[in-house]
Amino acid sequence: MNKKLRVVSERSDSPRAQDTAAAKPNYWRSLAELDQTPEFRDAVEREFAEPLQELPPDSPGRRRFMQVMGASFSMAGLAGCRWHEDKILPMTRRPDGVIPGTTSRYATAMELNGVALGLHATSYDGRPIKVDGNPLHPESLGASSTYHQGSVLGVYDPDRSDAVSQKSGTGREISNFEAFDKASKDQLKKLRANRGEGLRVVSERTSSPTMLALKDRWLAAFPLSKWVTFESLGTNGRAAGTALAFGKPHRVHYSFAEAKVILSLDADFVAPSFPGGLANARGLTKGRTPDHEEMNRLYVIESAFSSTGATSDHRLALRAEQLKAVAVFLDNAISAKASALPEQGAGQPKPAAEFLNDAKVQKFLGAVAKDLLANVGKSIVVAGLHQPAEVHALVERINVLLGNTGRTVFYTEDSADAVQSDTAALKALTEEMAAGKVETLFVLGGNPAYDAPSDVAFGAALEKVAFSVRLGLYEDETSQAATWHVPAAHYLESWGDARAYDGTVSIVQPLIAPIFGGRSALELTARLLGEEPKGLELVRAQHKGLLGDDRRFRKAVHDGIIEGSAFDRVSPKLTPIAPIKLSEREVSGAVVNGQLEVRFVPCPKVYDGRYANNAWLQELPESFSKLSWDNGAFFSVATAKALGFTDGDVLTLTVGGKTVDIPCIVAPGSAEGSVKVALGYGRTHAGRVGGKVGTDVTPVGGNANLIRTSDAPFFTGGLNVSSNGPGKRLANTQDLYAMDQIGLDGIAERLPELVREAPYEKFKEEPHFAKHMVHQPHELNLWVDPVSYEGHKWGMAIDLNKCIGCSACVTACQAENNIPVVGQVNVAMGREMLWLRVDRYYRGDPNEPELRFQPLPCQQCENAPCEQVCPVGATMHSHEGLNDMVYNRCIGTRYCSNNCPYKVRRFNYFNYNVDVIGITPYTPTEDPKMKLKAMVFNPEVTVRSRGVMEKCTFCVQRIQNAKIPAKNAHRAIEDGEIKTACQETCPTDAIVFGDLNDKKSRVASLQKLERAYQLLGEFNNRPRVQYLARITNPNPELA
């Protein structure tokens, strides 16, 4: 793969389909094909309608398919009965450095909830097929998350809106940009006259300097208008808290690698939805490598299991609302010891909370306080973003008192351009709209009609607005009520810029011209203001000051970041915090049904629902329940038992008279009386994946926004739950907690051998414990080794101490290897196709469980059971030790799967690509938009048809594409040159791949570590994957 980064020629921003064809610059010759121009439509029909009938059912002809879309090659119908005729469509003028059929990478960035992550997008013949983290980006460091991995599928989503539409009566009718531009121009002319009277704008939370500058110009042009920023998952507890503690809002940044003791108060700070989460994960796990240096110690107090909690050494389950009292308690304890300066104010009085008197809690908090005080300047306390201002204020106060500021905790002023999400303002606006005070409304992105709290009836109010414009990727819930819907451009289709949480600016660079002719928010706003509506020009102009000449701009685009654009770090003065009042609930202990706490969390898959139509993310098993295609209400074992619920029961959740139906998930580790529900489900106008009312695609999951209110958007009490009995078979890829006793005992018995672990002290005494845990019998082979491993010897090491179970690797694997989506029913039947799975095991007392993750790719056994039983030799051993799987030889006896002790093999029970591509070799569709889906495929990987087995290949295509150029250049492959997709995206660097014959390679040295062990190695399969045993670092006082 060509790793060299190139800058897209500026011409890439050229006008597209709706502009004149002649204006198309040559560079985008191939992309012009992608436009919905008549030629393209025609070409698509010609190329795809017939020939696929000609393909034999077992022909993985989909790869060809993409080559077409890549416009290097194309398929035509059969010339005659004898030869299948293919056509080659070369470019008329090939730009320098463009080699058909090779990949190149471009730097870009994706913004989520006002925080940008720098990315590298891989382009194949002008088509983005994969995104990965940008190693230069301070908050990516090369890592990315499920959201980013999945985002590339969104580019080719056939459900994306492809035309301007206008409300007509009850329905909507297709319109065009000309009509819209004219209408909006007239409307704005009126508004300029009355200085924006009755003009309102609702925008997503964005950190884009260009967008914010446009916003200022907008407000200058329309002084009477209002601009409301709303983000369903936008929190401002931290801003308000830091304001309380320091006088003005600040951002908080951490250096977890430096910390020795870390306390999280319901903060899942390694989650991608947490600002800087990926960098935090890297730092945290960097401090958890026991082989050479000391380990940090992680305490987590949380309401339900999170990745952070799963990684912790000590964990305490409390309801989210109880953490305020905890914070007060800790501040009291620490202020007492750490002598605060007078101007910093006195500590809080000891809180009178009954649950704090519980022996367990007291012991825990006492130990934590002691440990923190023992590690002054080397500790970190983090509060969950959803926690109220007081908690954040106290947490920062504690950090300051512990002298962490400037060592492990850093502050930057929350500059004005980091707009806070303002639910109150949205509520006010909604009332204005309902009262008919708003004549003109622009909704730039977002989907408030769906994700606004239930007491903000945005959708209904929108009906009352005379002239409303919705810019969106989909014609979704909000668009339904708007008078105009304008298709938006995907971030991989448009120029822009955005800031990381630490302020670093990234230039968002398009990889492809907008396929459906959408516009970015930048372009639309500029156009409305009558400015030059070219994204690139806007961005360039915005950064003239900082970057000056063109060369530096190009460098910034090339690198993906603008150096030195991060905010300056400050050390704010701590101000006294008045004694904090604790409400009845906040100090209460156990709660009964009707008074339960409900906690609304961002979905790790569909976020706030914006990815609801992304099949990869919908099918991804959620980290803790392993549930796909649904959201669940998470109950602790005790609570579920007390209420008599079990897995899969359909529950009616009622808060303040509002209800929603969601299936029950018994999730050990949840706080008693606290119910976790993921947002982002129950979309009614998502598309043919996420659900669309009026079609046979029912909404996926239940919409938790229905029981959410604007005053308590993230957790609240007063939840009543009632069961409607068992529902449909849940699509979970691993047994839920509730299973028969035999099974539970069996798991408990073998778990220590599967996920081997020991406390730090034991590990130091007995470093080889993991190797010696299981007796390895004398190895006798039935067959002689088929190959001797000269040359390369590929292997992998997976560090169980680092895996946080985020599952980014799983989606990355899916994107890299063209893994089909099988859908809810087939997942429920146990037919998911994911090559890499992240196993989740609960350990110990179900009321205070520990949680373990174990990523499981194909182990590439040297003595592979699968190879010996295949009757046709469709899976064979390569000379580099790969367990090759040959799809076109496989006849599908499935014997290999039966004999695989890891059950990592996956079988195409149906032609699942029908769902991905929308066509089968025998029943071609006439819908070119369905065919569009095929463009996301990686041409370097065969697309499997029905009836063949498949499995992890160690990304053999990446190996080949590194080996061949290296050999051509007569050089050796250096270590780290080949990264598997899962390794590349892993935030914690838990997966390392490389050549075991290269003694200096990282993987070789890791497999040599004492704590390295083979999973089920006692069966003499000689797996090429080795796991590094998990080492915990418990506090002796709590052990």
């Binding site: 059912p57 035999i742 099974g743 039947m829 059971p865 010996q868 030889r889 059950k903 149906f910 009836g947």
Partner: protein
């Protein structure tokens, strides 16, 4: 033909004290009769409709992908393979009776060997279909054959599935030869007695010009002996090889050295159960009570209890080994069989295969036709469940708990299973109608004509029988 209250060629053999003539009449009249009894038609109708369902469900699976069945991960093998092993098992009794009992000079076998052999062949046919249709790409099974090709690819001979191909096809070939060989003299009898030219030519061709000369009898004897000798090891080899599919795998519950004998015993057990299931109605409807006597049924009952006990022993031994072997995974698998999610299947198997056959200890039961029939059917069910337990429950919970699953069959699974019986019975009913259901020549060899015994296979009497038979 009308209600047949007065005269029914199937029910009333002609008068006369010549045993040979009676035998010949009893058997040939079935073929000679213008119409079989109504029961035959009803049975044939049902069988045919089930056969249609079979073909329908297979075609459906081949067209849409085998996902129409309940197979999933980890249970990648389910009903189709269960059915395959089940039918292969059924297909054992025939050759056992014909070959092994022949070599052991068990004369009583002559009454039942013919349709036991027929049953074998039909069962093997049913079995043979499943490996072909259960694969993911049913249009490519020839990849398993060693055919030279431009890919330079050969099958993989380390795979037990490859061994299966050869084992089963060999067994099928030899069984068919053996069966056909045995029928030749009887075809000749049919030929000589048939009234219509068409029948005469048809039977004449298949009789291969048999004249009953002493030379022919001599050669026939030799060939029969040789084939019997050839078939004998096959009886043991086929199911042993089939058991290797499981025994060579690493899966707890499959990885057991006891499998070959265990499977063979089970096969004979199930095979005999199927023989009685067929013999009892056949002798009722086709008036063969005098040929297939209670004694024959009782002897089969004895064989069943013997093999039943062997199977029971194997069940016990599996548990002992799993404990004695000390592998926690093995141990878990068997505890899981007893009490896990599939316990119901396991206990069905035990009660059908081990508990019910114990009734055969009582002579009353052994000599009660209907009791034998019912127990035989129960054993058939039990043997099917044995394969289900071995294949499916072992797969549902193997090494890594993360990959555990629960297999639920779909309606197509049941249609395919039921349908295979359709195929079996269709063939069998046709056999009853048009082919010599009983090996007349052999039966005669051991039956006293008018009282005094005859030396083995005296051809002269065959001719006598003919002479008598001619009107």
């Amino acid at each position: 033909m009308a209600a047949a209250s007065d005269f029914n060629p199937f029910q009333s053999p002609p008068k006369g004290d010549n045993m040979f003539a009676q035998i010949t009449d009893n058997v040939t009249r079935i073929m000679e009769a213008p119409k079989p009894p109504r029961a035959w038609y009803i049975a044939f109708g049902i069988a045919l409709s089930m056969l249609t369902m079979f073909l329908g469900s297979i075609t459906w699976a081949a067209w849409n992908g085998i996902g129409v069945w309940g197979n999933m991960m980890p249970v990648a093998w389910a009903f189709p393979i269960v059915n395959f092993v089940f039918w292969i098992g059924i297909g054992h009794a025939g050759t056992l009776i014909s070959a092994i009992l022949f070599l052991l000079r068990q004369n009583w076998r002559t009454a039942i060997n013919r349709f036991a052999e027929a049953m074998t062949i039909f069962a093997v046919m049913c079995a043979g279909i499943f490996p072909g249709v259960h694969i993911g790409r049913p249009w490519l099974p020839y990849y398993m054959m060693p055919i030279p090709n431009q890919m330079g690819m050969w099958p993989q001979y380390r795979s037990p599935l490859e061994w299966d191909i050869f084992a089963v096809s060999t067994y099928a070939t030899v069984s068919i030869l053996f069966w056909y060989m045995g029928m030749i003299p009887d075809f000749a009898t049919f030929r000589d007695r048939s009234t219509s030219t068409a029948k005469r030519i048809a039977y004449g061709i298949v009789a291969m010009g048999w004249r009953g000369s002493s030379r022919q009898w001599h050669r026939y004897e030799r060939a029969y002996l040789i084939l019997a000798a050839l078939a004998t090891p096959l009886v043991l080899s086929v199911h042993s090889v089939v058991s290797f599919d499981f025994a060579t795998a690493q899966l707890p519950g499959w990885h057991a050295t006891i499998f070959p004998p265990y499977f063979v015993a089970g096969a004979i057990f199930g095979g005999f159960a199927m023989v009685v299931t067929l013999a009892v109605p056949a002798r009722q409807f086709f008036g063969l009570k005098r040929i297939i006597t209670i004694r024959h049924l009782e002897l089969m009952a004895k064989v069943m209890i013997a093999t039943g006990l062997m199977v029971g022993y194997a069940y016990g031994m599996e548990f002992f080994i799993s404990w004695y072997g000390g592998s926690s995974y093995e141990g878990f698998t068997f505890v899981n069989r007893l009490f896990g999610p599939y316990a119901w299947a396991y206990w069905t198997m035990i009660s059908c295969n081990v508990i019910f056959p114990q009734l055969f200890w009582f002579k009353k039961v052994r000599t009660n036709v209907w009791a034998i029939l019912i127990i035989g059917m129960i054993v058939n069910v039990g043997m099917w469940f044995e394969r289900f337990v071995i294949i499916c429950t072992s797969l549902t919970r193997d090494f890594l708990p993360s990959s555990w699953g629960y297999f639920v069959p779909t309606k197509f699974d049941f249609m395919t299973l039921g349908g295979s019986f359709g195929l079996f019975f269709t063939l069998f009913l046709l056999f009853c109608r048009y082919l010599p259901m009983v090996a007349m020549s052999e039966v005669k060899a051991f039956s006293p004509p008018g009282g005094h015994a005859r030396p083995h296979l005296d051809h002269g009497h065959d001719d006598a029988a003919h002479a008598h038979a001619q009107p």
